[in-house]
Each structure stands twice: as C-alpha cells, then as structure tokens.
C-alpha cells in the first residue's frame, strides 16, 4: 500500500485556499438528503456536528456520556493558540507553524500544520461570536499569555477553564442545530463498529448503553472524533470513559493507525498517592509561567520546602535550559523531572515528585496577581493535595496526558477507508512527536469548524448507491458485535475488568512511557500477551447485556486497550530513534537529549491490521521539510 497524503500543489501558504477553490460543492437543496455521522462530542466532534448541520446536512451525533457537554475537552485548562499577534511581538502564521513543527520534533506533516496555523485566527473569532467569555484587558481587548515551548504570548484563555468554555460554545452551537431540527444527539450511545459497503464507510453499529440494544445507523460519511487513548496507561489525566474503541474498531476494519507510540506525558500533574487511585489530575502548564520548578540538591534532604535555602535548591530546568527555563516543551520538562527523581532527588512521600514554587512570583507581583491568573488551579490543588500552594510549593510529577498518534489521515482528514474521517485527538496529524501547550484545542476546533465540513462536503459529491439500515453489511457487523459481547459475558472468571486494566497500565508506564528500551519493549509485549490471556480466561462481568451495564462497557474498552498496547510497543520498537515524547534510551546525545535519526525516521509509521494474531504491517509516509529546515531542537 502506498500512502498518499493528497497534499495540494503550490506554495505552502496557498495550499488550503487552492484546495478550497477547487473542491466540489453540494447544493443547499440537496444537503438534507445526506446523512453524516459524527462520533464524539468533544471540541472536534461538537464543532464538526454543529458546522455540518448548519450547512444543511442531516447530522447524527453520538456520545457515550449522558450529554454532549461532558467530553473530556472540557477539562482542558490553559488556553488556545492563535497567531493574531495582538501582543505586537512579531508573531505570525509562519512563526506558529515553525513552533509547532519544531515542538513536534519534525515528525508532523508540514502542509497540515501550516493550515492549522492559518486557521487558528478564525477559531478565536468564532468562539467570541458564540459568547465564549475570554479574559480581557482593561480596555476590553482580548488578553493573551505565553505557554511552554514558545517565545510569544499567543495564548487566549478563559481563566483556567478555557476548554470548558470552548466546549460549551461548541455544545451550544450543536444544541442550536438540534433545535433547528438538523442534528440529533444520541447520548449514552457507544460506537462498537464501523460498517463498510464496497470498501466505503456507510454507517456504524452503536450500543444504546441504557437498554443494551445494538442500533444500526446508516450514513453517507462517518466522522470519528472519539479522542485519544492515554487511558491505556490506566493512570492518566484522561476521563474515566476515554477509550480507543472507536478508532481501534475502525483500525480493524482497515483504517491505518499512525504513530501509536507517540503519547505525551504531561509534566505538571499532581503525583500519585495510593494504589487504588484511578486518576492523575493535571495542573495547567500555564503555571510554569510563574512557578519555578526545583528539587533539593541533597537527596537526603528532610526539611520542609520553605526551610531549604536558595543555594541548596536545584532549579534544574533553569540551569539546563537557560533560554526557555521553566517554559521548555512538555516532553523536555517531563523527562528532566524523571531524571532528577531517578537520581533520588524527588520529593514527597513517594519521592516521585518535584516542587513547583510560586514563592518568588507572589513576592514580586503580589498574591492578588497570582490569584487572578491561577486562582481556580490553586483551589483545585488544595482540594486534592490538602496543601495550600500560596504557602508551600506544589508537588508535581509527569502523567500520561495526550495521544499524538491516532488514525492515519490524508490532507482531507480522511482515513484509508473512504468516507471515514478522523479529527481532533483521534487522528495523528498535526503534533508530530510532541504536542505544544494550547494547541490541542486549536487543532480540534480547526478540524471541526473549518476543515472537515468542507472535506466531507467534497466527499459527498461523489455518486454512490443508496444504503440504509437493511443492507446486509449491517447484519454482518451486528453479528460480529453481538458475538464479541457474548464472548465477553461468557468468560465467567472471577476478576473485575479494572484489575486487568491496572496491570496493563503498570506495564505500559514502566516500559512504554517516558523512557523506552528495546529489551523493555520486548518484555512488555510478552507481559501484555499474558495479561490478555488472563483477561480472556478470568474476566467476570456482572449483570446482563440488556440493561445499563458499566462493567460490560468497561471490559470492552479494556479488551481494545490490550490490543492497542501491543501495537504501541511494536511501533516504539520499530522507531529506532528518539524523537519528542518517544525517548529510546539507546538513542541519546552525550548530555542526555533526544537523538533523532532523520535519515531513517523522518516518517509517519502507519500500521495495517493484518488479521487476528498476525503481526501488523508497517507502512511509511515520508515527511518532507521544504518550508522549515530540519534541525536539532534546542531549548538551551
């Protein structure tokens, strides 16, 4: 298989406008005869569903939560980037593009990233028009701040709840379309498989989570906006329900899965406290604007943080990266924290933690200024950790946060299955090997508001036979889905699904987390196979499949994580270099920085499912860097 990203010709800054000028349109009167399914109601899904419905298509929107307002985009805190240069610093589309490519350690596709940077400006305008209350300066103009990995202030924010406000904006736009009769929201529904007719995506099979009924939904195009898979690590910053099922099922039906080993471990999270803990809470990266990261220089330090004098503190980011200091990108900050903890300098009961200290910022700028910026984050920290961060430094440690990998898509955000699109975190496209702060929301909303409505339209102009829910392809997929549910219910062991999930998470964090080795990954693959065997012999699901059954939902998701984990390790094994988040210990510079191998791995690896129990096939898409020179990242 040759992967064709179908990037339009022409100079990079004209590609998207050329594509828009050339794509085909569906007339307004014909649009209601086309149905588009959108799976997921986060920033990408809700914005896509609202935009497609507003264009006049019939939209069916699906989410497993009880309402479309809950998807985990809501937890994004810090902000959204836009290259508007309101701060008059010389920012531009090109600078945002270069920062994103460089931040991703040259493993993202140039044309997509340029388009993202271009569209960033429209997103903030769209959100403001919806009534999203962004923070304002005294004159009433939009306020901005800086974020990790960049030297300009291009991040727009609503206190520390930007994701919530942007999602509620997209959700309200979707509810507006529901009121107009153009969109229908199917909440408490979970996609369990994709239906293909003549190789094209023509619908889905979803389970009504309340009644347990398997429903068939036919469509002319299917958009997956089902988010990322960091819950494969069990302990992550993701929501309880975040899962890989939608994209994994699509993968097994033929969609290629790209760069699965690229998972971001976020540096500023509250450290773990107990074994049964199910969640690591993220503290916005924006805290690194004013907080200083340090550990005691003495591994046997016993004094409380505030009693440790200045000269006995190791400000390891500032020392090691003087140009960016505490604002280095996430992968660099996380790895540095891991390194000092490995050296025994960590703090807190588990010694897996570093201080994030606001003492100096409060002294210099006053408590009120800090409270204005981070008040809700400080409150959240105090609630969870039971310590007052205005008085003692926060303790933080890296946690799995975001999946850069996902379904492979071309320039039109279409997967290798025609008619099946993937947007937001569900695709692999824009962040390369590391995502910069405040760019997830930007990508989700660029995909949902401004890209996929047009590329789906273009797809819909092609003639195709009418397919409805009575088509035999649906019978076949419903049979497969039912068999899978029966198989899960019938294992009849003694162990709850979360036990297997926890075991899997331990293996993945340890072997396929912030640092990876060939030997470790090979061991991990064997350990994952053991857990998978145990899962399929000792699982117990209580209750029946014909009512709300959260154990059954959970078990299905864990089963898919167990398969994905394998692919992540294979991918990490094959990528014999270090790039961004993917740090193979065998490939590092003398001073411990990531060592890329551009000759062999300036590529996207897209994996093809080759059948159960068969080793998947890797396909490479070569990445070309014409608009920005391949260079070693340096934040020193």
């Amino acid at each position: 298989m040759r992967l064709d990203a179908r990037i339009p010709d022409g100079p990079i800054d004209e590609k998207w406008s050329r594509w828009l000028d050339a794509h085909r349109l569906v007339g307004p009167l014909n649009r209601p005869s086309h149905t588009v399914i959108v799976v997921g109601t986060g920033l990408a899904g809700a914005s896509a569903a609202a935009s497609l419905a507003a264009q006049g298509f019939r939209v069916k929107s699906f989410c497993f939560q009880d309402t479309a307002r809950r998807a985990h985009s809501i937890a994004a805190q810090g902000g959204i980037n836009a290259s508007k240069d309101f701060a008059n610093e010389g920012d531009s589309v090109r600078r945002l593009f270069v920062d994103t490519i460089k931040g991703g350690d040259f493993r993202a596709r140039e044309a997509n990233v340029w388009r993202l940077a271009e569209l960033s400006e429209n997103i903030v305008d769209q959100a403001v028009a919806q009534g999203v209350p962004f923070n304002r300066e005294y004159g009433g103009a939009l306020a901005t701040r800086s974020f990790g990995g960049v030297l300009v202030q291009r991040t727009f924010y609503s206190r520390g709840q930007t994701g919530q406000q942007l999602l509620l904006g997209a959700y309200s736009a979707l509810q507006h379309q529901v009121a107009q009769g153009r969109a229908t929201v199917y909440s408490r529904h979970e996609l369990l498989d994709v239906v293909l007719v003549d190789g094209e995506a023509r619908g889905i099979v979803a389970r009504d989570l309340v009644t347990g009924e398997l429903e068939r939904h036919a469509a002319d195009a299917v958009v997956l906006a089902s988010g990322g898979y960091c819950n494969v690590y069990y302990l992550s910053t993701n929501a309880k329900g975040s899962n890989v099922t939608a994209t994994w099922r699509a993968h097994k039906r033929g969609a290629l899965f790209a760069n699965p080993c690229f998972t971001q471990i976020h540096p500023t999270c509250i450290p773990q406290s107990g074994e049964y803990q199910s969640k690591l809470t993220l503290m916005s990266e924006s805290l690194r604007n004013d907080g200083r990261v340090w550990v005691p220089r003495d591994p046997d330090e016993q004094r409380p943080a505030n009693a440790i004098p200045e000269e006995e503190r190791l400000y390891f980011l500032e020392e090691r990266y003087p140009a960016y200091g505490n604002l280095v990108p996430r992968d660099v900050a996380s790895r540095a924290a891991k390194t000092v903890c490995d050296e025994g300098l960590g703090v807190g009961p588990t010694k897996r933690g570093v201080y994030l200290d606001f003492r100096d910022a409060i002294r210099d700028r006053g408590r009120a200024a800090i409270e204005g910026r981070y008040g809700n984050l400080f409150e959240m920290y105090q609630r969870i950790a039971d310590e007052n961060p205005y008085e003692v430094p926060m303790r933080i440690y890296p946690a799995p946060h975001y999946a850069m990998g996902g379904l492979w898509v071309d320039y039109e955000l279409q997967t290798t299955i025609p008619g099946l699109f993937a947007i937001g975190e569900a695709n692999f496209s824009d962040h390369g090997a590391n995502r910069l702060g405040a760019s997830a929301m930007m990508q989700c909303l660029a995909d949902g508001y401004f890209i996929v409505p047009h590329t789906v339209t273009h797809h819909l102009t092609k003639r195709r036979e009418h397919v409805d829910e009575t088509h035999p392809a649906f019978d076949e997929v419903v049979r497969d889905v039912q068999a899978r549910i029966d198989r899960l219910m019938a294992v009849g062991g003694n162990t709850a699904p979360q036990v297997f999930h926890r075991r899997l998470g331990n293996v993945m964090l340890d072997r396929c987390g912030m640092a990876r080795t060939e030997a470790g990954l090979i061991e991990a693959i064997a350990e994952i196979a053991e857990i998978r065997d145990a899962f399929w012999t000792d699982l117990r699901i209580d209750g029946r499949p014909d009512h709300l059954n959260q154990s059954l939902e959970y078990a299905g998701r864990v089963a898919d994580f167990l398969e994905l984990a394998d692919l992540m390790c294979l991918d990490a094994l094959r990528r014999a270099e270090s790039a961004g988040c993917h740090f193979r210990e065998e490939y590092q510079t003398d001073d411990g920085e990531a060592l890329r191998d551009d000759e062999h791995f300036a590529t996207v690896t897209a994996w093809e499912h080759a059948g159960e129990g068969v080793v998947p096939v890797a396909h490479d898409e070569a990445l070309e860097f014409d608009s920005v020179a391949l260079a070693t990242r340096s934040y020193k």
């Binding site: 609202a50 028009a129 009534g131 736009a173 529901v178 107990g274 199910s278 969640k279 117990r540």
Partner: protein, 257 residues
C-alpha cells in the same frame, strides 16, 4: 479506613428501589468518593455480586457527570463535586448513605444514575447565540470590560451537574437556567436574542417539571462551582422585562418589515 455504606439500588425507573448495606474496608483516606465506589465494585464483582451503577468521567470536578447525594448533601459535605470529595473528610467507621439526585425531572436509570437530559432541552430552547460557523468580526471590535467578562464567567462556569436541582426542596432548576441566561445576557453577543432566550428557556424549564424558586438558597450552597444566587435574581429580572416586552439594552425595538 472502614465504612458502612447504605447504597441506593434501583433496576430502572419503574422499580421502587431499596438501600443495600455494603461494608467497605481498607480504604485509603486519600481516595476520592468515586474511588471508594470503584473499589467496592471491584470487590463485589470478584465475589460474584453485581456492581453499583453510578456516573463519573473527568474526575477533576469539571465535566459534571458525577451526581451522588452523600449523606443527604448533593456531592457530599464539602461543596465540591463527588469526585473531589475525599474519604479523609469522613470519620473512620462512619455510616454513609448514598443516593441518586432526587427530582421528578431527573428519572433514575439505574442505581445512582439519573437522566438529566432535561438540562439539554433547556439549552436547546435558547442557551446559545445563533451564530453558525463562518467569518466573524474581529473580536476586539467589540470591547468587553473585564468586570463584565468576569461577571459573565462567574455564571458560565456552571458544569451542568444538577446538584442545584437535587438540593432544592422544590426541585427547581433556576440556578442552572439563571447561570446560562446571566452568562449570555450580560455579553454584547447575547443581546439580539436576549428577550426570546429568556422566555424560551424559562418556558422549557417549567415544561420539564422543575419546580419554582422560593428563595431557600440551598442550590447555591450545594453548587460545586459556587454560583451565586444573583443569577436567579438576574433571571427573574430578565424574565419580568421580557414578559413586559420592555426594550432591553442593545435592541432597537424596531422590527424589520
């Protein structure tokens, strides 16, 4: 820590339901209330019993999924979401009663899970600015004073969990509806639809079977976001003005022919 839990069990909207007593032992004081229930369920599944159903998702207090009445208080004793309520806030050996949101407008689906889609229908009635995707004006062409933005934001932070309804003796949704009306009606973007929005949302709220506000103030005390009763005052003022057809700031009062 050890707890004696009285958990509400109900197989569906037609089942009268009952309490089931469950002993929970070996609980970490740093565990959240949800983690307590995950652990209880893990043990129940292993010993052949059925798990207790409850909603949860983000587990950081922002998604609004979790919805437990803990010892008579929506979300528990600390005015934070259930997921941010920690076992260290309880006494070792304590008996804790756990119930779903109680409101006719939120029917029980199973055990502690309720159907809160009534909130979606209130938003659908008018909780938006009717713009669709496309080119928009430069956002700085319409300056918003930080004080206005702050006031709008104080209302916009509602997470839609429904604790306000569960806390209210009348099962009123005035805090929820008032928060959305306040958020949009304060901002310049919300002005053209101000009157229509207020009327439609209040009408939908009544249609869903939520009660009226009689100023108990329980809603605001239970709200994990601490949304002020001021939004109910604002909702009442907006509703009166809308009913009277009084022109509101930002509308011309003229109708296109």
């Amino acid at each position: 820590m050890r707890f004696r839990l009285e958990l509400w069990r109900q197989t569906g909207p037609d089942d009268p339901g009952r309490y089931e007593v469950v002993e929970a032992d070996g609980i970490d004081p740093e565990a959240s209330f949800l983690e307590l229930l995950y652990q209880v369920n893990e043990g129940r599944i292993a010993s052949g019993l059925d798990a207790v159903a409850f909603d949860s998702d983000c587990r950081e207090g922002i998604c609004g999924s979790c919805s437990l009445v803990i010892d008579g208080m929506p979300h528990g004793p600390r005015q934070v979401t259930s997921c941010q309520t920690f076992m260290r806030d309880f006494e070792d050996g304590q008996t804790i009663r756990v119930e779903p949101w109680r409101s006719n407008a939120f029917p029980v689906i199973r055990d502690l899970v309720t159907d809160r889609s009534a909130f979606d229908r209130i938003i659908e009635a008018g909780g938006y600015v009717s713009v669709t995707t496309g080119p928009q004006p430069n956002p700085n062409s319409m300056p918003i004073a930080p004080a206005t933005q702050e006031a709008a934001m104080d209302a916009a932070i509602c997470i839609g969990c429904g604790a306000c309804v569960a806390a209210c003796p009348n099962s009123a949704a005035m805090l929820f509806t008032g928060a959305k009306v306040t958020h949009l009606n304060l901002l310049p973007q919300g002005q053209p639809e101000r009157r229509q929005r207020t009327l439609a949302m209040v009408e939908q709220m009544d249609e869903e079977g939520f009660g009226g506000c009689t100023n108990h103030g329980e809603c605001s005390l239970a709200c994990p976001q601490g949304i002020s009763l001021d939004v109910i005052g604002m909702l009442n003022r907006e509703y009166r003005a809308a009913l009277r057809g009084k022109p509101v700031a930002g509308t011309s009062g003229m109708t296109a022919q």
